[in-house]
Symmetry: C2
């Protein structure tokens, strides 16, 4: 923390172009080591080389997106308002509103995105873009990768004579808790489980000087199928659903966790048949695999739920699971189907009447993303879209929730428990506004540099 | 809450122009009753008719500023990003980022601004602009005014056939706590004391579903005088200081609480002499007067502090107090001079060397506003300005902290304890972004209205 605060002090007035140079230096250094980094990540996460190589590309693309926006002046611009003569309220002095760094940011990366939500992932990129120093809590699921990324980032910073302590790290659960409570930490970025996120949220809130906790925690992302879509393309929908729910072995915050479809479409049967043809999957860590089966166990033996067979292979691999739930059961907030099960499982709820589907969509709980599969001009599709807008940070038409595009306008967040601060995003250029604090300069003299 | 949620449901999709019409209807209705409202407020607060009439004007100006921005499309604009063909990370679907209301907002107004931070003050204006329903906790310092403003706002809404329950209220301490904990409340706006704000912040954070608490709590606003300014215009500075610190009987969150000046300028003597000529002041409530004297009592009898004489007149009026503090005492975070004393008091710290002044400016505590009085081209003035930027939400050159202009670019907030969320403001157009939640619409079909 002492070194991070020192770096923050030195870097506080760094111009947007200097910040951009620092971010690009990190991106370049990571890109020079793609193969090595992906291999280390694969040894620690088993996510596979194609996915991991792609994730490195996503991560450096994201870093460069922030650098480019800083250079183009499309983020963090100052806003000037000339003085207006006369008495208030109409009259007022000259005001320039500019952004300064919030201070040192603590960042907790995710198990499932060792790069994109890792040491130099989106949270770090947006904090560096805001001019902040960051202290990363290394994820225990990929300690070697974390250390390697840290070394690369720091040497990249040193190579352009920026303070290398702009990126530092701690490891360990207790150390993470201490980091959130540490004097000098001014904000927290977190991506992880509801339990861990809630605990750290509470540490941030209980400080003598509470700090904002920007956490992305848990989301039961709904996908609803309209009657017309089900009638005309249920095979295609079943295939898309299975692909999306098993992507990354279902270890995505954007996994389609709940499929809501007309009973007549038989989507549960179709999905189960497709899943049976898939090979076993290795989850990120033995802990995550154990929690996955604990989750599945909560569904078993309840008359309201029908659980497709699931099994563990001898080498610890798992298979995917479909849970068919009655409408009533899903509407009960205390049902196990209302808890996120991290891994390749999904709940299917069927409806006879689209109004029942609306009831499921209207439950009072935030989600990161919701999807509607429908047909152009179908009135109920519009109702479904509008219902999802009230609960979700992202609403997708005729697509699947997995795959959050790294685009400037992207929004990744949502009402609790999807995220702790639904007016902010952790992906896209607006992520920078979590860590940049506005200051109004009143009658600021022209001879003093801002 | 039930009625507020009902109104929120009905109003959720209200277009910006509809929201503007509702806000303008409230402003018009308030303007039609200026005299009556100011009289009621004066009976309850003793702030005087000129100030209160002016505050009504400020309040309706503020309401109309939001309405105008909604009509002009200068806030809450959607941002569209066309699809980019090809694989990720470069390729991505079409995304439209638009704002939706966060939901019902609980608003706690301030004792000292019965209008501008009251039932239809800045928090309500920005929440209504975001499309939210609000439930106001009535301030016990002006219950009749609160009820009257509520009635006017609701009848204004009814007159244009908007849901009158877009503005509701509760009264009572326990009711306020329950409001922050109530299911359906999605955010809190608060202006008040550190103790009350901290307590309500904690209620919001401890909810099963924590909600953002946007609180403006407490600030020891510093004003620093450069050697050249002190040498050339210390009489003018003493007069400006006394005027600003006694404005509204010192009951402003922006009161200049700490004056840092060269010892040679004799500003304490000059200020005390000016204060002696002032009539007694009536504080907002007997409670506030009692707390003011409790605050003054903490300064008395300490060798490090010199307290100017203060007295209470027979009719409960108070006089202003200057506390001269040693540098060392002010640098001690546990000293009573480091606590806000609400009312007409201020601390004066003097320096021999400008580096001592920088030490005082650099204490690790947020403030709403800081001011520098200097002379053009004076190098130390630039250092003072930059030091204040690191701690304050607003930095003023050659002016006084009181009087927050209601301008679009205004920033009113700052690091803890000035506010709970330093990246947000409670004054100015950006206040709306506390209560508007972005949603990314992915491949949204053109035939469905947004």
């Amino acid at each position: 923390m002492e070194r991070a605060r020192g770096a923050q002090d030195r870097w506080w007035g760094a111009a947007p172009s200097e910040r951009a140079t620092a971010i690009e230096a990190i991106a370049d250094e990571v890109d020079r080591h793609v193969e090595e980094l992906a291999q280390t990540a694969n040894e620690e996460t088993h996510l596979g080389m194609p996915r991991l190589t792609g994730e490195v590309a996503r991560t450096t693309f994201q870093l460069r997106m922030f650098a480019g926006a800083l250079r183009a002046g499309s983020i963090l611009n100052a806003q000037s308002e000339a003085s207006v003569p006369g008495p208030p309220p109409q009259g007022h002095p000259a005001i320039t509103r500019r952004y300064v760094p919030i201070g040192v940011v603590a960042i907790f990366g995710a198990s499932n995105f060792p790069f994109a939500f890792g040491v130099v992932g989106g949270d770090t990129a947006s904090a560096l873009a805001a001019g902040c120093a960051v202290v990363v809590k290394e994820h225990p699921g990929h300690p070697r990768l974390s250390q390697r990324l840290l070394t690369l980032a720091r040497s990249a910073l040193a190579s352009i004579e920026a303070p290398e302590d702009l990126v530092g790290s701690v490891a360990g659960i207790q150390e993470g808790i201490e980091l959130v409570g540490a004097p000098g930490v001014r904000a927290v970025g977190f991506t992880g489980s509801l339990a861990a996120g809630r605990a750290l949220h509470d540490v941030a809130a209980r400080r003598p000087d509470p700090i904002p906790f920007f956490g992305e925690l848990s989301s039961l992302n709904p996908v609803v199928i309209t009657p017309e879509a089900a009638r005309t393309r249920s095979e295609e929908i079943a295939a898309g659903f299975v692909e999306s729910m098993t992507l990354g072995a279902g270890q995505f915050c954007t996994k389609p966790a709940v499929l809501i479809a007309p009973t007549s479409a038989g989507l549960a049967e179709k999905a189960i048949a497709l899943l049976e043809g898939l090979p076993g999957m290795t989850l990120l860590t033995p802990d995550i695999a154990a929690r996955y089966y604990q989750g599945i166990a909560t569904f078993v033996g309840r008359p309201e739920l029908k659980v497709s067979s699931s099994s563990t292979t001898s080498d610890g691999q798992v298979t995917a699971t479909i849970i068919e739930s009655t409408l009533e059961e899903f509407l009960n907030p205390d049902s196990p189907v209302r808890h996120e099960c991290f891994g390749p499982s999904a709940v299917i709820v069927t409806y006879e009447d689209p109004r029942q589907a609306l009831e499921v969509l209207n439950i009072d709980e935030g989600v990161l993303v919701g999807c509607v599969h429908g047909v152009d001009g179908e009135e109920i599709a519009a109702d479904f879209l509008h219902a999802l807008e009230r609960r979700a940070g992202r609403v997708v038409w005729n697509g699947w929730p997995t795959g959050v595009a790294v685009a400037g306008a992207q929004m990744h967040g949502g009402p609790w428990p999807a995220s702790t601060q639904s007016v902010h995003t952790s992906v896209g250029l607006n992520a920078v506004y979590r860590f940049a604090r506005p200051v109004a300069l009143q009658d600021w003299p022209s001879w003093v540099e801002v």
